[in-house]
Subunit: 84 residues, 2 copies
């Protein structure tokens, strides 16, 4: 791993971690009122495309970060549909 | 541009666009109460690192998407500090 790959991995950890409190909060409170289904569905499509592009660039940080974020978005979408 | 670069550009447009309604809403309402300064500061650091990593991978979609998101996060941080 060179310095840029380490920076990429730091980027992956930070932006993925920034998304976690929302998932945790929604999971705990089951309050999905202020979540936009359109936004999270688009977001899910977007990060899934980043995963595909990450495989093309052979970038592990991109695949990991966007893969985990895609799963998180999917959890939020499921909670939104369940508790709406 | 090959198909993967087009997918990457679509990913960039979708995830960047998903972030815009928040910026617009905060800009309009000046209501920053529910925004977490810690979250947006971390997010700003994270996407800035993605920009650096994007230059390393020579990926235009990564540089553009994360560059615009970094500026958006910076606007939200500034609004938060101004109207807190």
């Amino acid at each position: 791993m060179n310095i840029f790959e380490i920076l990429g991995m730091c980027a992956a950890i930070i932006t993925t971690a920034a998304f976690m409190p929302q998932v945790y909060k929604t999971w705990k409170t089951k309050d999905t009122k202020s979540l936009s289904l359109t936004m999270y569905t688009s977001f899910f499509v977007g990060v899934s495309l980043w995963v595909v592009y990450g495989f093309y660039l052979e970038s592990l940080p991109m695949i990991l970060a966007n893969g985990i974020t895609a799963i998180s978005a999917l959890i939020l979408i499921r909670l939104k549909l369940k508790y709406k």
